[in-house]
Symmetry: D2
């Protein structure tokens, strides 16, 4: 059933509970001979996700130092499964009560499903599980051609919406802002809003937008493993995500076809490519920029618990590297799949 494994050819299996000994990732299907350097390739992405980065994130402080247990030798991948673990060190388990179900969390449904649960910090259902995803994604990035870029950013938090995003955008441009919103003015408003939230025990959701550039045409499979649904699957599997759109989906649903579809039919060099497709037609990449929007509901811990606990008032900023990781895993998988149809 493999419910803790993501991917088809490149697979990521995650394990670990928030307050257990360690979080971990097993990456399999990773080709041999790829240069891998923990400090250069993996740890920086974990650092981007790490709690305690700024005043608008949780104060739980985890070093999140990764250790590679297998699959890499002499600085290169072996073709065998790569296991990476991150020890949990700063768990404060006594904050949690086994007989108390937090609202909006998985506490209650886990009990309904499994009978037995690790009530400490959400256990397996904690956002901390995304440590493993970021590890997986950082390996996946090593399989992408250099010209491919995967950059996520905060498009919206609460009612603050960034309209003015530069056409070119790097990870560093985004990370320059604690909110990961690359519109400085909106970023300032978001930071202010989140500081108020923290004081008042309120929380926020928002939208992460992710851009994939440099992709060749022909990635993705036409039926059940389309580029678009494999991405939706990837993104919606992340904790607080409640929606996914290829581009601005609500706008597309309202649009008139003749205005929306402005592509060229026929047989010329651009024939059949549709600008409105956001990079995906019939489930397959068309060589243009791919844009997804990922919708987050407000963080579930509110009120007095939010004030005293160690929680993010909004997980959107720290979720950016997680969404990127899921995109990178999905892309790398499709790149591997492309080798099968030569």
């Amino acid at each position: 059933m493999n419910a803790n494994t993501f991917g088809r050819l490149l697979t990521l299996t995650t394990f670990g509970e928030s307050h257990g000994p360690a979080m971990g990732a097993v990456i399999d299907g990773f080709p041999a001979g790829i240069s891998v350097d923990l400090d250069r390739d993996i740890q920086p992405h974990l650092n981007r996700r790490r709690p305690g980065q700024s005043k608008i994130t949780t104060s739980r402080s985890e070093a999140d130092k990764a250790e590679i247990l297998s699959g890499v030798f002499d600085g290169k991948s072996l073709g065998s499964p790569i296991c990476v673990v991150v020890r949990n060190t700063n768990a404060r388990s006594k904050d949690y009560d086994p007989n108390y179900y937090r609202a909006g969390h998985a506490d209650r449904v886990w009990e309904e499903k499994f009978g037995h649960r690790d009530y400490r910090g959400g256990g397996r259902a904690s956002g901390r599980e995304t440590v493993s995803r970021v590890i997986g994604g950082s390996f996946a990035r090593l399989l992408l051609p250099e010209e491919v870029s995967v950059v996520g950013f905060t498009r919206q938090i609460g009612t603050n919406i960034a309209e003015d995003i530069p056409e070119a955008l790097s990870i560093d441009d985004v990370d320059a802002h604690a909110s990961r919103c690359p519109d400085p003015e909106v970023a300032a408003r978001i930071t202010e809003d989140l500081e108020t939230c923290k004081e008042e025990g309120d929380s926020r959701g928002g939208i992460i937008e992710i851009r994939i550039d440099g992709l060749p045409a022909g990635l993705g499979d036409p039926v059940f493993w389309k580029m678009k649904n494999s991405m939706a699957d990837a993104f919606m599997s992340v904790g607080a995500v409640v929606g996914v759109g290829l581009g601005d989906a609500p706008a597309a649903a309202r649009a008139a076809g003749q205005q929306f579809h402005t592509g060229i039919a026929g047989s010329g060099p651009d024939a059949g490519i549709s600008p409105a497709a956001n990079g995906i037609q019939g489930g397959i990449s068309n060589g243009e920029r791919i844009v997804f929007r990922v919708y987050f509901k407000p963080a579930s811990t509110v009120g007095s618990m939010a004030k005293k606990g160690r929680h993010d008032p909004c997980i959107v900023p720290r979720a950016v590297p997680v969404i990127e990781a899921m995109a990178a895993l999905t892309l790398a998988d499709h790149f591997l799949a492309r080798r099968l149809n030569v």
Copy 2:
């Protein structure tokens, strides 16, 4: 890689090109001893999807008569794979030109990916592939407990939005309208709009909303096979779908946490259940109604081609049974998975 197979325990494999000999479905993992009647259980759902149902759909006329080739004996499933085929009879292949790429379709990207393509009617990338999904979904429904209902309806087509949907809604209530919009006033406006579209070669997208009622708590897996991402995967794999939301995702992204999260914490009977969760917490059903919204872009065939060809100006109405089928397949799969954790 199994890119034409959907599901983990209950699997649907689809095959067939739009103008090839037949469309088909293989359903595996279907338990033995389940009563199956083609005319009672399968054909009616195919009829709901069939082209030529009303003046607002395509005029391609396919009987879409299903034949069961295996897996059912003496009116009951055998526990072996069930293969069902539907012959293609009304294909008009000469409408299509091998050297012409339709804009917004998969014609061009298929060529990029596979080199060789069936240019007739979109081949495998045709919406006709959903015949196989409806077959699969009709079998999946047989595995759902009687108290579970899966009802989809048209929430919006173009700019016409139904706000007033009855709390109780059956498939028959929905099917009473050609547009499958169960708000009569909006339904009338939609029909009018689509008739105009047909004349003008314009097209529409929209939103299908799907309600799942009667589900017990505890369905779904906490990490990569959450109820929400398995549904998003299912829905986004359908042709023109560009977005999926658990409930109204854009509204959730804007909401303030303290207003959004109104669940009760603690240890009482309802503790931990969140009304704002739309039936899914931590990826697992919480026993409440599940609501998804599925966003469609406008149909891709517009202009002169739309006027002369046999195309739907809006596929949303006919997609309702397809979206229901994908939901039913996903649910049945999770119901089977639940047996593994006794």
Copy 3:
């Protein structure tokens, strides 16, 4: 669970009951653009498996004409799933009694497992299921490099053992004998023995040996998808097979290491290649001939039932193309996998 699907990248899903409407195969993961001709590539292998070929096989007469329903267009594969069906025409269902369990067959255990069964001719558990495997194998052969040959032959039937098999052996060489034993003298004794069996209601098992030549080094994966266990899995999944050996396994178990292992260690051109390995080291092909032996128990229908019914006294001759098909499927799958580690 996919229990009716074989393979990882190239998958074969089989369906059909012996006396149901049809047997069928869905081949997925088959690359696009491969030339496919039903009469040239597929039907001949079905004919080699077909009942009623000679006086030493069953008298059930099935034309076993294959029809391609999908995945092939204009003489070439499309990259979409290929479905092929063979209608059942000569079923004599009244020979079977729903309340009678044949000894040594699956009748009784099927009932224990599934509750409901198709008692006619073994239903899904019939050897007729191998029609679908031969279809799959014939497609798999199209993916093998021209220099690869997969030839199976009868090494032993009952106590008649062929010791003198030519070093070079083609399918035609083997098929020249009704027993598929390419040692003419032993072949004659086998035919005589099987004719006596038929008269007396006795049956025989035996050994099929399969040779794979022309394989490059480097096929197979080192742990759970070794070349050797993927082949054992493939062969042991065939009805009456009770054992599989890489080469002569009982002899290897008895051998002294210093005599058995005569390979050259070091770093020269042949270093590390072991002649005793039968072509597989550490689960991976070493570039030499691969030899497997597949052990069959005697056919289960004996006594009066064997005399009156339509049964093979020994299925070994007709199983040769089935074992070859399973080998070809496994090889093609590993060839596809090799593309993933460039």
Copy 4:
């Protein structure tokens, strides 16, 4: 592709290289609420496999202490993936030369396949990988009903064959002998033989027989996931295994059908059960004892290397818990699958 994962519902993913930081196992699909005690349930099986147990095994001394990183809380399984690691401590890497291919090992073919290899001690291709399998198997045993027993023993090493094995046999009975041959007389001869081998740099193969008792009828699937081929797959995936037989396969291949098949046909309580089936008919357990024989070739390290290195002259004794582990994993998987057909 999941080539390092074994199983369908209960999955074992293994990782680790012989001289890398650790060996590990991730067990997924393990139901929640099962009592797990590392010292009681897991470590003892690792100890049975551990090197340095007796004078007839390798002198590499590894404590093989297991640590559970996830999936178990408060002495019970959580339903989340269980990761267990064993650190490698006694690796003597300088014994190995990167430019030297050992004959009969995977050194050379790994290089052909992957380009890059961990030459130290065989890397991933080392028998040390079976540490992870024994971990997996020890968890799988916890899922088997109490009345099921899985006991392997040495039937043959080299030319010493035990004919006289007691009808009832426990793990302790077997482990009482360093050779794991429960026939004391033959055990003595084997020990003597292996001591000579060690001195002379010779090696031996042999046969492990495994008995599965207490199984209900109805386990196993009829086509590609038969009990027999899933077991063959499991056993043949172990390093030096070159053959698998359901019972005595060479004897079955020679037998006359009328003598071999002595089951009762008809409809009485035992009808359809065949004593010659070794517990499996049509791929499904029939409720009787299942017996497999697993054939090992002689250990590959012979000659001067065997004299100076730290190698087993025969891995058969230490492989007994490995073969048992693979059987337990396969059985537990089928027990889970049985829940799906209620």
